[in-house]
Subunit: 222 residues, 2 copies
């Protein structure tokens, strides 16, 4: 049985998550991770076959935990609008316990999935799938309008990951450019997004702001 104290493997994984989030895969040196974990560099290779294996372990644990967390939203017998609120709250809660998560996700998307193995890819797919299930339910019972499930997923996940992952750069703006934005309360953002998304998907006569002078909807290129 493992010791009660956090063992070296746990500390390595913890340091790896933070370092990969802050510096990216190539930017994160094994030496740096070792120092942060307070272990010798060789210990990393004792526990993990390679840097790539370490990275994949980090990603799989992360996306497996998130998938579990989100599927719980579907366990309750709630109406779709409530589920949508809970989905957003669940993602936000997950991220607030793991501030490194959105930055890793942003990087993986930018990377194009070139470093992802099949299993990680599969775990990641739970996010759009859970979202799509909620959308489908809402369209069936008539509370949601005819929104595209995948496009709606990006309209929900995009703001969450971008806003919560941008905390460090917003800090830079605040410090070096005298622009506000660093002090915005994450909870205020979640409330905003819930309201924003509910209005975005709700069925009912558009009540579109520009209804009269509706502009050409595509590519006006200004």
């Amino acid at each position: 049985m493992k010791s009660a104290r956090r063992d070296s493997r746990t500390r390595i994984l913890d340091a790896a998550r933070r370092t990969f989030a802050a510096r990216g895969y190539t930017g994160a040196g094994v030496d740096h991770i070792a120092r942060l974990a307070r272990v010798n560099k060789a210990m990393i290779y004792y526990h993990f076959a390679s840097k790539q294996t370490l990275y994949r372990t980090v990603l799989q644990e992360l996306f497996a935990a998130l998938a579990d967390h989100l599927r719980a939203v579907l366990d309750r017998p709630d109406p779709p609008a409530v589920r949508l609120d809970r989905l957003i709250a669940a993602i936000a809660a997950f991220v607030q316990e793991r501030p490194y998560f959105p930055r890793i996700m942003l990087r993986e998307i930018a990377e194009g999935g070139t470093r992802l193995d099949q299993e990680t890819l599969r775990l990641m797919s739970a996010l759009p799938q859970v979202t799509a299930a909620i959308i489908a339910q809402g369209r069936t019972d008539g509370t949601f309008r005819d929104v595209h499930p995948l496009l709606t997923y990006f309209s929900v996940m995009g703001p969450i990951v971008m806003f919560l992952g941008s905390a460090p750069i917003r800090e830079q703006f605040a410090q070096r450019l005298l622009v506000p934005g660093a002090g915005v309360d994450p909870d205020a953002f979640i409330g905003h997004l819930q309201e924003f998304v509910q209005r975005g998907v709700a069925a009912g006569a558009a009540a579109r702001a520009a209804s009269a002078a509706a502009p050409p909807r595509r590519r006006t290129t200004v």
Copy 2:
């Protein structure tokens, strides 16, 4: 005067944009950029003082062009809802001519702005500023409800950058996991987002889907 043919400096910048987008700052080797640009590695150091200078040049040119592009939206005397549609269309048009842009932006946000100089930071701030100006106009004339300008900015920019930047990883999902999503038309997404955002900001009685059984709005943690 420079030759009519694209000179080496232009080819280097072009190769650098693509390589930084695909591999990130640390992952992008100067050798690789040189090969892609069909120039000798030393040529890069003839035109640019260092890899970092090259990177900053790429970012500044990019965000300066985008800032110009977006400020044009404010030049026309349009009502706020129209401007909002045009803003989304303008960003989308900009990105479709520069597919590398969203990936670079995702990476910089994840990076936390540690590599950004003051000038680049200033250029980047045009995005939330233009958005905020449109929101302010809509709140003044009563067509928009009481939305937070910065939070709304993230609700607009987040989906755009995430969706358009995720084209490569969606391709991975399609190929290796038999999940659809690669074939989604970018124009369909833009139309979706315009409608979604208009509904999100429009003034008027919420018409919220879950109006009756409105759930606790914060952190239900499932």
